[in-house]
Symmetry: C2
Subunit: 210 residues, 2 copies
Protein backbone atom coordinates (compact mmCIF):
# COMPACT_ATOMS: atom_id res chain seq x y z
CA UNK A 1 0.00 0.00 0.00
CA UNK A 2 1.19 3.50 -0.87
CA UNK A 3 0.66 6.45 1.47
CA UNK A 4 0.59 9.95 0.01
CA UNK A 5 0.70 12.96 2.36
CA UNK A 6 -0.68 16.46 1.78
CA UNK A 7 2.86 17.75 1.33
CA UNK A 8 3.41 15.21 -1.44
CA UNK A 9 0.01 16.04 -2.99
CA UNK A 10 0.95 19.73 -3.07
CA UNK A 11 4.13 18.87 -4.98
CA UNK A 12 2.49 16.68 -7.59
CA UNK A 13 2.30 17.63 -11.24
CA UNK A 14 -0.92 19.62 -11.68
CA UNK A 15 -2.57 17.20 -14.11
CA UNK A 16 -1.65 14.14 -12.01
CA UNK A 17 -3.04 15.80 -8.88
CA UNK A 18 -6.27 16.79 -10.63
CA UNK A 19 -6.87 13.20 -11.76
CA UNK A 20 -5.92 11.73 -8.38
CA UNK A 21 -8.07 14.01 -6.23
CA UNK A 22 -11.03 13.75 -8.60
CA UNK A 23 -10.98 9.96 -8.13
CA UNK A 24 -11.08 9.99 -4.32
CA UNK A 25 -14.79 10.55 -3.79
CA UNK A 26 -15.74 7.20 -5.36
CA UNK A 27 -18.14 6.29 -8.13
CA UNK A 28 -19.95 9.45 -9.17
CA UNK A 29 -23.23 10.35 -10.76
CA UNK A 30 -23.08 11.68 -14.32
CA UNK A 31 -25.72 14.20 -15.33
CA UNK A 32 -26.37 16.76 -18.02
CA UNK A 33 -27.62 20.12 -16.78
CA UNK A 34 -29.77 22.04 -19.23
CA UNK A 35 -30.55 25.76 -19.09
CA UNK A 36 -31.88 28.52 -21.36
CA UNK A 37 -31.15 32.21 -21.19
CA UNK A 38 -33.67 35.03 -21.49
CA UNK A 39 -32.99 35.27 -25.26
CA UNK A 40 -33.93 31.63 -25.71
CA UNK A 41 -30.42 30.25 -26.21
CA UNK A 42 -29.99 26.83 -24.65
CA UNK A 43 -26.96 25.45 -22.83
CA UNK A 44 -26.01 21.92 -21.82
CA UNK A 45 -23.10 20.80 -19.63
CA UNK A 46 -22.04 17.54 -18.03
CA UNK A 47 -21.63 17.48 -14.23
CA UNK A 48 -20.35 14.71 -11.94
CA UNK A 49 -21.20 16.50 -8.69
CA UNK A 50 -24.99 16.27 -8.51
CA UNK A 51 -26.11 15.17 -5.04
CA UNK A 52 -29.25 14.53 -3.05
CA UNK A 53 -29.90 17.32 -0.54
CA UNK A 54 -33.24 16.22 0.89
CA UNK A 55 -36.48 14.38 0.12
CA UNK A 56 -39.02 16.64 1.82
CA UNK A 57 -38.98 19.19 0.30
CA UNK A 58 -37.38 17.46 -2.71
CA UNK A 59 -33.98 19.12 -3.14
CA UNK A 60 -30.92 18.41 -5.27
CA UNK A 61 -27.63 20.26 -5.60
CA UNK A 62 -24.42 20.44 -7.56
CA UNK A 63 -21.04 22.10 -7.18
CA UNK A 64 -20.24 24.88 -9.62
CA UNK A 65 -16.58 25.72 -10.13
CA UNK A 66 -15.35 29.31 -10.38
CA UNK A 67 -15.17 30.65 -13.93
CA UNK A 68 -15.55 27.16 -15.34
CA UNK A 69 -16.53 25.89 -18.75
CA UNK A 70 -20.08 25.61 -17.51
CA UNK A 71 -20.30 29.29 -16.60
CA UNK A 72 -23.36 29.71 -18.82
CA UNK A 73 -25.12 27.14 -16.65
CA UNK A 74 -24.83 29.33 -13.57
CA UNK A 75 -25.53 32.59 -15.43
CA UNK A 76 -28.70 31.14 -16.89
CA UNK A 77 -29.82 29.75 -13.53
CA UNK A 78 -29.21 33.13 -11.87
CA UNK A 79 -31.16 34.93 -14.58
CA UNK A 80 -34.07 32.54 -15.05
CA UNK A 81 -34.13 30.35 -11.87
CA UNK A 82 -34.73 27.14 -13.82
CA UNK A 83 -32.56 24.19 -14.80
CA UNK A 84 -32.92 20.53 -15.70
CA UNK A 85 -30.95 17.47 -14.59
CA UNK A 86 -30.85 14.71 -17.19
CA UNK A 87 -29.42 11.22 -16.75
CA UNK A 88 -26.49 10.07 -18.90
CA UNK A 89 -26.82 6.62 -20.46
CA UNK A 90 -24.31 4.41 -22.18
CA UNK A 91 -25.94 5.43 -25.49
CA UNK A 92 -25.23 9.17 -25.04
CA UNK A 93 -22.18 9.14 -22.74
CA UNK A 94 -19.76 10.31 -25.45
CA UNK A 95 -22.04 13.18 -26.39
CA UNK A 96 -22.33 14.05 -22.71
CA UNK A 97 -18.52 14.13 -22.37
CA UNK A 98 -18.28 16.31 -25.48
CA UNK A 99 -20.49 19.03 -23.90
CA UNK A 100 -17.43 19.95 -21.81
CA UNK A 101 -15.65 21.36 -24.88
CA UNK A 102 -15.13 25.12 -24.83
CA UNK A 103 -17.31 26.06 -27.76
CA UNK A 104 -16.71 29.64 -28.78
CA UNK A 105 -19.54 29.79 -31.27
CA UNK A 106 -23.09 30.88 -30.67
CA UNK A 107 -24.40 27.35 -31.13
CA UNK A 108 -25.76 25.52 -28.12
CA UNK A 109 -24.08 22.34 -26.85
CA UNK A 110 -27.37 20.65 -27.70
CA UNK A 111 -26.69 21.24 -31.39
CA UNK A 112 -22.92 20.83 -31.14
CA UNK A 113 -23.31 17.35 -29.65
CA UNK A 114 -26.48 16.36 -31.55
CA UNK A 115 -28.55 15.94 -28.41
CA UNK A 116 -32.13 17.05 -28.99
CA UNK A 117 -34.05 19.31 -26.62
CA UNK A 118 -37.37 18.31 -25.12
CA UNK A 119 -39.83 20.67 -23.41
CA UNK A 120 -42.27 19.38 -20.81
CA UNK A 121 -45.44 21.08 -19.55
CA UNK A 122 -44.18 24.57 -20.36
CA UNK A 123 -41.12 24.27 -18.11
CA UNK A 124 -38.65 27.03 -19.06
CA UNK A 125 -35.42 24.98 -19.24
CA UNK A 126 -34.76 22.33 -21.88
CA UNK A 127 -34.52 18.60 -21.19
CA UNK A 128 -32.47 16.04 -23.12
CA UNK A 129 -34.79 13.85 -25.22
CA UNK A 130 -32.62 10.74 -24.88
CA UNK A 131 -32.24 10.93 -21.08
CA UNK A 132 -34.65 8.41 -19.57
CA UNK A 133 -34.76 10.31 -16.26
CA UNK A 134 -35.53 14.03 -16.64
CA UNK A 135 -35.84 16.38 -13.68
CA UNK A 136 -36.97 20.02 -13.79
CA UNK A 137 -35.80 22.21 -10.90
CA UNK A 138 -36.19 25.75 -9.63
CA UNK A 139 -33.12 27.24 -8.00
CA UNK A 140 -33.80 27.98 -4.33
CA UNK A 141 -30.31 28.81 -3.06
CA UNK A 142 -26.73 29.35 -4.24
CA UNK A 143 -24.36 28.85 -1.34
CA UNK A 144 -20.78 30.12 -1.61
CA UNK A 145 -17.96 27.78 -0.55
CA UNK A 146 -15.33 30.37 0.41
CA UNK A 147 -12.32 28.05 0.71
CA UNK A 148 -12.03 27.56 -3.06
CA UNK A 149 -14.63 29.93 -4.54
CA UNK A 150 -16.93 27.15 -5.69
CA UNK A 151 -20.68 27.29 -5.12
CA UNK A 152 -23.34 24.79 -4.11
CA UNK A 153 -26.36 25.38 -6.35
CA UNK A 154 -29.59 23.98 -4.86
CA UNK A 155 -32.80 23.35 -6.75
CA UNK A 156 -36.25 22.22 -5.72
CA UNK A 157 -37.66 19.44 -7.89
CA UNK A 158 -40.68 20.75 -9.80
CA UNK A 159 -41.25 17.82 -12.12
CA UNK A 160 -39.89 14.39 -12.92
CA UNK A 161 -40.34 12.45 -16.13
CA UNK A 162 -39.36 8.79 -16.20
CA UNK A 163 -40.21 5.43 -17.72
CA UNK A 164 -42.75 3.80 -15.40
CA UNK A 165 -41.29 0.39 -16.15
CA UNK A 166 -38.30 1.21 -13.93
CA UNK A 167 -40.29 2.75 -11.05
CA UNK A 168 -40.82 0.13 -8.33
CA UNK A 169 -43.88 -0.07 -6.09
CA UNK A 170 -41.90 1.42 -3.17
CA UNK A 171 -40.69 4.47 -5.12
CA UNK A 172 -37.25 3.08 -5.98
CA UNK A 173 -36.03 3.78 -9.53
CA UNK A 174 -33.80 1.17 -11.11
CA UNK A 175 -31.11 3.26 -12.82
CA UNK A 176 -28.64 0.59 -13.96
CA UNK A 177 -31.41 -1.33 -15.80
CA UNK A 178 -31.88 1.71 -18.04
CA UNK A 179 -28.21 1.97 -18.96
CA UNK A 180 -27.68 5.02 -16.74
CA UNK A 181 -23.95 5.35 -16.14
CA UNK A 182 -21.67 6.47 -13.33
CA UNK A 183 -18.15 7.80 -13.55
CA UNK A 184 -14.73 7.91 -11.95
CA UNK A 185 -12.57 11.01 -11.93
CA UNK A 186 -12.93 13.37 -14.87
CA UNK A 187 -13.09 11.06 -17.84
CA UNK A 188 -14.10 7.47 -17.02
CA UNK A 189 -17.65 6.25 -17.65
CA UNK A 190 -19.01 3.15 -15.91
CA UNK A 191 -21.93 0.83 -16.42
CA UNK A 192 -23.42 -0.70 -13.29
CA UNK A 193 -25.03 -3.94 -12.12
CA UNK A 194 -27.00 -4.36 -8.93
CA UNK A 195 -25.43 -6.51 -6.23
CA UNK A 196 -28.48 -6.20 -3.99
CA UNK A 197 -30.97 -3.99 -2.20
CA UNK A 198 -31.08 -4.39 1.56
CA UNK A 199 -33.60 -3.79 4.31
CA UNK A 200 -33.33 -0.82 6.66
CA UNK A 201 -30.49 -1.67 9.05
CA UNK A 202 -31.48 -2.45 12.65
CA UNK A 203 -29.30 -3.48 15.58
CA UNK A 204 -29.11 -7.25 16.05
CA UNK A 205 -31.16 -8.06 12.95
CA UNK A 206 -29.50 -9.53 9.89
CA UNK A 207 -30.01 -7.57 6.66
CA UNK A 208 -32.53 -8.98 4.22
CA UNK A 209 -32.37 -8.69 0.47
CA UNK A 210 -35.37 -6.76 -0.80
CA UNK B 1 -43.27 8.10 -19.94
CA UNK B 2 -44.73 9.21 -16.64
CA UNK B 3 -44.58 12.84 -15.49
CA UNK B 4 -44.76 13.61 -11.77
CA UNK B 5 -45.24 17.20 -10.62
CA UNK B 6 -44.15 18.80 -7.34
CA UNK B 7 -47.76 18.82 -6.19
CA UNK B 8 -47.95 15.09 -6.75
CA UNK B 9 -44.59 14.56 -5.04
CA UNK B 10 -45.85 16.47 -1.98
CA UNK B 11 -48.85 14.13 -1.77
CA UNK B 12 -46.89 10.89 -2.04
CA UNK B 13 -46.63 8.43 0.81
CA UNK B 14 -43.57 9.48 2.85
CA UNK B 15 -41.60 6.26 2.31
CA UNK B 16 -42.35 6.21 -1.44
CA UNK B 17 -41.25 9.84 -1.77
CA UNK B 18 -38.05 9.23 0.18
CA UNK B 19 -37.09 6.35 -2.11
CA UNK B 20 -38.05 8.24 -5.27
CA UNK B 21 -36.22 11.46 -4.50
CA UNK B 22 -33.12 9.64 -3.24
CA UNK B 23 -32.87 7.91 -6.64
CA UNK B 24 -32.95 11.09 -8.74
CA UNK B 25 -29.33 12.15 -8.40
CA UNK B 26 -28.01 9.09 -10.23
CA UNK B 27 -25.42 6.49 -9.31
CA UNK B 28 -23.84 7.56 -6.06
CA UNK B 29 -20.58 7.05 -4.26
CA UNK B 30 -20.69 4.85 -1.16
CA UNK B 31 -18.23 5.65 1.60
CA UNK B 32 -17.69 4.91 5.27
CA UNK B 33 -16.81 7.91 7.40
CA UNK B 34 -14.72 7.13 10.47
CA UNK B 35 -14.29 9.41 13.49
CA UNK B 36 -13.10 9.18 17.10
CA UNK B 37 -14.17 11.31 20.03
CA UNK B 38 -11.89 12.86 22.64
CA UNK B 39 -12.41 9.82 24.92
CA UNK B 40 -11.14 7.49 22.21
CA UNK B 41 -14.49 6.00 21.20
CA UNK B 42 -14.69 5.36 17.48
CA UNK B 43 -17.66 5.82 15.17
CA UNK B 44 -18.34 4.61 11.66
CA UNK B 45 -21.23 5.52 9.35
CA UNK B 46 -22.08 4.94 5.72
CA UNK B 47 -22.66 8.01 3.51
CA UNK B 48 -23.78 8.25 -0.11
CA UNK B 49 -23.25 12.01 -0.43
CA UNK B 50 -19.47 12.36 -0.54
CA UNK B 51 -18.42 14.71 -3.34
CA UNK B 52 -15.34 16.29 -4.85
CA UNK B 53 -15.06 19.97 -3.94
CA UNK B 54 -11.70 20.83 -5.47
CA UNK B 55 -8.28 19.46 -6.42
CA UNK B 56 -6.05 22.35 -5.39
CA UNK B 57 -6.23 22.51 -2.42
CA UNK B 58 -7.53 18.91 -2.24
CA UNK B 59 -11.04 19.19 -0.78
CA UNK B 60 -13.92 16.76 -0.32
CA UNK B 61 -17.33 17.23 1.24
CA UNK B 62 -20.46 15.42 2.34
CA UNK B 63 -23.99 16.36 3.34
CA UNK B 64 -24.92 15.82 6.96
CA UNK B 65 -28.61 15.55 7.76
CA UNK B 66 -30.16 17.23 10.81
CA UNK B 67 -30.31 15.02 13.92
CA UNK B 68 -29.53 11.97 11.85
CA UNK B 69 -28.28 8.53 12.76
CA UNK B 70 -24.80 9.70 11.98
CA UNK B 71 -24.94 12.54 14.51
CA UNK B 72 -21.81 11.19 16.25
CA UNK B 73 -19.93 11.70 13.01
CA UNK B 74 -20.56 15.45 13.06
CA UNK B 75 -20.07 15.79 16.84
CA UNK B 76 -16.72 14.05 16.61
CA UNK B 77 -15.64 16.15 13.64
CA UNK B 78 -16.62 19.36 15.44
CA UNK B 79 -14.72 18.28 18.56
CA UNK B 80 -11.59 16.82 16.98
CA UNK B 81 -11.48 18.24 13.39
CA UNK B 82 -10.50 14.89 11.87
CA UNK B 83 -12.34 12.25 9.88
CA UNK B 84 -11.62 9.50 7.39
CA UNK B 85 -13.35 8.54 4.15
CA UNK B 86 -13.09 4.84 3.31
CA UNK B 87 -14.22 3.13 0.12
CA UNK B 88 -16.93 0.45 0.25
CA UNK B 89 -16.22 -2.72 -1.71
CA UNK B 90 -18.43 -5.59 -2.69
CA UNK B 91 -16.76 -7.62 0.09
CA UNK B 92 -17.82 -5.23 2.88
CA UNK B 93 -20.95 -3.62 1.43
CA UNK B 94 -23.33 -5.41 3.81
CA UNK B 95 -21.29 -4.39 6.82
CA UNK B 96 -21.25 -0.84 5.47
CA UNK B 97 -25.07 -0.85 5.16
CA UNK B 98 -25.37 -2.22 8.70
CA UNK B 99 -23.48 0.80 10.15
CA UNK B 100 -26.70 2.77 9.59
CA UNK B 101 -28.47 0.86 12.41
CA UNK B 102 -29.33 2.96 15.46
CA UNK B 103 -27.09 1.24 17.97
CA UNK B 104 -27.95 2.36 21.49
CA UNK B 105 -25.06 0.62 23.16
CA UNK B 106 -21.64 2.01 23.89
CA UNK B 107 -20.00 -0.22 21.28
CA UNK B 108 -18.62 1.37 18.15
CA UNK B 109 -20.06 0.50 14.72
CA UNK B 110 -16.58 -0.85 13.95
CA UNK B 111 -17.15 -3.63 16.49
CA UNK B 112 -20.88 -3.98 15.83
CA UNK B 113 -20.24 -4.64 12.15
CA UNK B 114 -16.92 -6.49 12.55
CA UNK B 115 -14.96 -3.94 10.53
CA UNK B 116 -11.46 -3.48 11.95
CA UNK B 117 -9.86 -0.10 12.58
CA UNK B 118 -6.54 0.89 11.06
CA UNK B 119 -4.40 3.84 12.15
CA UNK B 120 -1.98 5.47 9.74
CA UNK B 121 0.96 7.74 10.60
CA UNK B 122 -0.55 8.91 13.89
CA UNK B 123 -3.68 10.32 12.20
CA UNK B 124 -6.35 10.87 14.89
CA UNK B 125 -9.37 9.28 13.17
CA UNK B 126 -9.66 5.56 12.41
CA UNK B 127 -9.60 4.03 8.95
CA UNK B 128 -11.32 0.84 7.81
CA UNK B 129 -8.72 -1.92 7.32
CA UNK B 130 -10.60 -3.54 4.45
CA UNK B 131 -11.20 -0.35 2.45
CA UNK B 132 -8.65 -0.29 -0.37
CA UNK B 133 -8.85 3.51 -0.65
CA UNK B 134 -8.40 5.33 2.68
CA UNK B 135 -8.44 9.12 2.97
CA UNK B 136 -7.64 11.15 6.07
CA UNK B 137 -9.13 14.66 6.21
CA UNK B 138 -9.11 17.71 8.43
CA UNK B 139 -12.38 19.63 8.59
CA UNK B 140 -11.95 23.12 7.16
CA UNK B 141 -15.56 24.32 6.99
CA UNK B 142 -19.10 23.33 7.93
CA UNK B 143 -21.56 25.24 5.77
CA UNK B 144 -25.23 25.41 6.81
CA UNK B 145 -27.86 24.72 4.15
CA UNK B 146 -30.76 26.72 5.60
CA UNK B 147 -33.55 25.40 3.39
CA UNK B 148 -33.63 21.99 5.09
CA UNK B 149 -31.17 22.33 7.99
CA UNK B 150 -28.59 20.05 6.46
CA UNK B 151 -24.91 20.93 6.44
CA UNK B 152 -22.08 20.60 3.94
CA UNK B 153 -19.02 19.34 5.82
CA UNK B 154 -15.76 20.08 3.97
CA UNK B 155 -12.41 18.45 4.68
CA UNK B 156 -8.92 18.97 3.32
CA UNK B 157 -7.18 15.76 2.31
CA UNK B 158 -4.19 15.18 4.63
CA UNK B 159 -3.26 11.68 3.54
CA UNK B 160 -4.27 9.00 1.08
CA UNK B 161 -3.49 5.30 1.30
CA UNK B 162 -4.14 3.13 -1.72
CA UNK B 163 -2.92 0.08 -3.60
CA UNK B 164 -0.35 1.32 -6.12
CA UNK B 165 -1.47 -1.33 -8.59
CA UNK B 166 -4.63 0.70 -9.31
CA UNK B 167 -2.92 4.10 -9.56
CA UNK B 168 -2.29 4.91 -13.21
CA UNK B 169 0.66 6.94 -14.50
CA UNK B 170 -1.58 10.01 -15.01
CA UNK B 171 -2.97 9.99 -11.45
CA UNK B 172 -6.24 8.19 -12.28
CA UNK B 173 -7.34 5.55 -9.76
CA UNK B 174 -9.24 2.59 -11.14
CA UNK B 175 -12.02 2.10 -8.57
CA UNK B 176 -14.18 -0.54 -10.25
CA UNK B 177 -11.18 -2.89 -10.68
CA UNK B 178 -10.87 -3.01 -6.89
CA UNK B 179 -14.50 -3.94 -6.32
CA UNK B 180 -15.40 -0.45 -5.08
CA UNK B 181 -19.17 -0.11 -5.32
CA UNK B 182 -21.67 2.62 -6.08
CA UNK B 183 -25.28 2.87 -5.03
CA UNK B 184 -28.77 3.95 -5.99
CA UNK B 185 -31.21 5.49 -3.55
CA UNK B 186 -30.92 4.42 0.07
CA UNK B 187 -30.40 0.70 -0.17
CA UNK B 188 -29.12 -0.53 -3.55
CA UNK B 189 -25.46 -1.41 -4.04
CA UNK B 190 -23.91 -1.60 -7.50
CA UNK B 191 -20.77 -3.05 -9.00
CA UNK B 192 -19.30 -1.18 -11.96
CA UNK B 193 -17.47 -1.87 -15.19
CA UNK B 194 -15.61 0.70 -17.25
CA UNK B 195 -17.10 1.62 -20.62
CA UNK B 196 -14.22 3.89 -21.48
CA UNK B 197 -12.02 6.82 -20.53
CA UNK B 198 -12.06 9.70 -22.98
CA UNK B 199 -9.74 12.53 -23.92
CA UNK B 200 -10.37 16.10 -22.81
CA UNK B 201 -13.24 17.36 -24.97
CA UNK B 202 -12.37 19.98 -27.61
CA UNK B 203 -14.58 21.65 -30.19
CA UNK B 204 -14.44 19.91 -33.58
CA UNK B 205 -12.20 17.07 -32.42
CA UNK B 206 -13.57 13.57 -31.99
CA UNK B 207 -13.08 12.05 -28.53
CA UNK B 208 -10.32 9.47 -28.20
CA UNK B 209 -10.33 6.54 -25.86
CA UNK B 210 -7.45 6.81 -23.41
Amino acid sequence: MKTITLEEIDNLDRRFRTNLINCLSGIKSMNLIGTKNAKGQTNLAVFNSVIHIGANPPLMGFIHRPASVERHTLENIKNTSYFTINSVTEEIHKQAHQTAARYERAESEFEETSLDTAYIKGFHAPFVVKSPLKIGLECVDIIPIPINNTQLVIGKVKLIQLDEKYLKSDGFISLHDQGIVGGTGLDSYLSAQEIGRYSYAKPDFPLEKI
